[in-house]
């Protein structure tokens, strides 16, 4: 075996295998905490408004991404919006097939400049179109945990035109 000997297959390498047990915690942050608590406790969506730039951030930000000003103008936005784009998801995060494919959409919320990526339900994929009006369906208050999944999904309000 020379210095330039090449290993053809990974199982030919003599290796020690190990696992470093690490876990990260990612907090919602000050604005995210308030946003999620409002969903949990009152079933309402909050945003922050930059009056200078005329932008309403949902999910809320603590500072304006455009002018960098601190934002303390909290506004409630309705749990309704329009489908900006959508897709049918067949695989989970580990690329394993889902028991049932699920629709996901980016929902542009009324009264906000942002929106939420969330599930779409109570409709078939062929019933969905870009621009259609949808509304958030909240879980029962007892089931809410302060998570974005306290919104169970969005559902169509009207049919496609």
């Amino acid at each position: 075996m020379s210095m330039l000997h090449r290993i053809e297959h990974v199982h030919d390498a003599l290796a020690w295998e190990g696992d470093m047990p690490t876990q990260g915690r990612y907090t919602a942050g000050i604005a995210g905490e308030r946003f999620l608590r409002e969903i949990q406790e009152n079933g309402k969506l909050l945003g922050t408004a930059c009056l200078t730039c005329d932008i309403v951030y949902v999910p809320p930000r603590l500072y304006c991404e455009r002018c960098f000003d601190h934002l303390d103008e909290w506004v409630e936005v309705p749990p309704t919006g329009r489908v900006y784009t959508f897709t049918l998801v067949h695989l989970d995060l580990d690329a394993k097939p889902l028991p049932e494919p699920r629709m996901m959409a980016f929902v542009q919320l009324d009264g906000a400049d942002g929106g939420l990526v969330h599930f779409l339900d109570e409709a078939e994929p062929e019933d969905i179109c870009i621009g259609m009006r949808v509304e958030a369906v909240f879980k029962d208050k007892t089931e809410r945990k302060g998570s974005i999944l306290d919104i169970a999904y969005f559902r169509p309000v009207t049919a496609c035109q």
């Binding site: 003599l14 290796a15 690490t22 876990q23 000050i30 960098f68 302060g146």
Partner: protein, 167 residues
Amino acid sequence: MEEHVYDSVYLRSRDFEEGRALFETWDPNARYAWDAGVAIGGYLRGLKAGKLIGRYCPECGRVMIPPRMFCEQCFRATDHWVDLHDTGTVITFSLCYVTWDMVRLEEPQIPAVIEIDGASPGMGIMHILSEVDPDAVRIGMRVQAVWKPAAERTGAITDISYFKPLG
């Protein structure tokens, strides 16, 4: 625009455990495989086959164990493998009354560095001594490897169970 200083929020473990802070957890897949490399790979294959092998440097003439592909004294590639004996001489040892995870022992473990016969002076490997009275261990003591049965060897330094006094 006015300067704004955000309030500092210090989070403690209890704030997470008692649900005062909302958070996501993330478990990075931190599995790794550490390749033994060419020299140690060959060494471990040798152990699995029940023999100790070293590498020869033609510049300084040293036979080195554990083997390395590069002589750190001559800055040149080592040349070939050399079969060594599984006997050697204790060049240093310790009587150890605690395990690596701090459990007290009645009978000591005896880690030792053993200069391997056939390798250059000072070339040795660290292992443990057994089948010996701790009080009888001496520097210069002659020892021999006690191998695991071939079927139990995995290509690891623990394929040698321990070294015992020779003869």
